[in-house]
């Protein structure tokens, strides 16, 4: 088996007296992973631990080097946080902070940012203030901002939550496009259809522990864990 993209070893995270992640050991290969689980199972916390936004109480997160350097990570949050500036400047802002791109000239950054907005179908809104766009449009700008960074791995926290069906389809198409470019994706979601269509493998979390890590078809037809089974039953009901 190829070297895993990321290994988590005995990961524990405790906050406010609650053990949100309770001894997770996991290896993820490059590709498309969906993290599923009930509310409070620890999906978002696990994603933040992977990204380094949270420091584990114990245990280790180890990303494998890509071509001798640390992999480039980007994350899109459930509620997009756009800065009080134009959609285009939001994307440029991300590029200017990126070690890979900040040395580039202003026209080059602008070009990259415009291309990223075009890929998410928002080129015509480039000059609009980010914060007055609709929720779905804001999420697409956030995806464009992440995409422009050309990340090796994109972490997505409930990217389709609180979007209407049309916006949800648009976001799904964008995620497919990003993955098609060779970016690995780790996504938490409650949206079962999205996970099933999109992911190669499923990590099912139950009360802060990995109940199973299974290829996607297997998870949705023959879940190995009783928790996964109950989760799917609940979703169907």
């Amino acid at each position: 088996m190829a070297e895993p993209m990321i290994s988590l070893r005995d990961l524990v995270f405790e906050g406010r007296g609650h053990r949100a992640i309770d001894g997770v050991s996991l290896e993820l290969a490059a590709g498309r992973t969906a993290i599923l689980g009930a509310n409070g199972a620890g999906k978002s916390v696990l994603l933040r631990l992977m990204h380094g936004l949270l420091a584990p109480s114990s245990g280790a997160v180890q990303w494998s080097a890509i071509e001798g350097r640390a992999p480039r990570l980007a994350m899109v949050f459930q509620k997009p946080v756009l800065l009080r500036r134009s959609a285009l400047d939001n994307v440029i802002y991300g590029l200017k902070l990126s070690p890979a791109h900040r040395a580039e000239s202003a026209p080059r950054l602008r070009e990259r940012a415009l291309a990223a907005l075009a890929r998410v179908g928002l080129a015509q809104l480039a000059d609009r203030p980010g914060r007055v766009l609709s929720g779905g449009e804001q999420q697409r700008v956030a995806l464009a901002r992440a995409w422009a960074l050309e990340p090796d791995v994109l972490l997505l926290d409930e990217p389709t939550a609180s979007l209407d069906p049309a916006a949800m389809r648009a976001v799904e198409a964008i995620i497919l496009g990003i993955a098609a470019g060779g970016t690995s994706i780790v996504m938490t979601t409650h949206h079962r259809g999205l996970a099933r269509r999109f992911a190669d493998s499923v990590v099912f979390l139950d009360a802060g522990q990995v109940a199973e890590h299974t290829p996607v078809d297997e998870f949705f037809t023959r879940p190995r864990s009783s928790g996964g089974h109950a989760y799917l039953e609940g979703e169907i009901a």
Binding site: L83, Y93, L97, P99, V132
Partner: protein, 234 residues
Amino acid sequence: MNWIAASLADAARLAFSLDPKLYSIIGLSLSVSLASVTLASVAGGLIGAAVAVGRFPGRQVLIVLLNAAMGLPPVVVGLVVYLMLSRAGPLGAMGLLFTPQAMVIAQFVLITPLIAALTRQVIEDAWREYEEQLRSLGARAWQAALTLLWDTRFSLLTVVLAGLGRAMAEVGAVMIVGGNIDGVTRVMTTTIALETSKGDLPLAVGLGVILLLIVLLLNAAAYGIREWAARRHG
């Protein structure tokens, strides 16, 4: 009630009298306060943002001190700056006592903590919303602080205005370090205090009304800008 009507009439007459002396008093008031508020906004804004975003030992003590310093008594600030600038004081050689520059320094000392404390509150609230996103993009603390200062610029306008209001309205500090010298360091508030003690109430009230109008206009302008910005930028 006659004297109120008389005073208002005096105020109107004063305002339109084109009396150069009056305009020099109003001009000095505005220029001293604007200069001190400009300097205090830069210093207080940076201090407030640093305290909001930074994590360092003594941070909570600093927050308490800043909040307490919002209520610094102007006369005490005036006294301290007076002692610093007086001939025998550490900055006495600069010869600034009883000059408009001394008044700017005193107001700067008075207002910087106010702007820093209010900025800290505004930036900290925004930081709660932005923190994960900015850290995810790789922003260092100082980059996040500058980003937040820009992103909360319309809220901070109100903070700057609070500083300007305090600067324009205070009398104790500028009286002590400026000396209320006619034609040199006499501003609206010190003139009002002087004319009242001399018994020239119409002139005092007239100046008071003009002072209130200026503050009112500034606030209306700031409110208008905020409303426009909220619609335009979200």
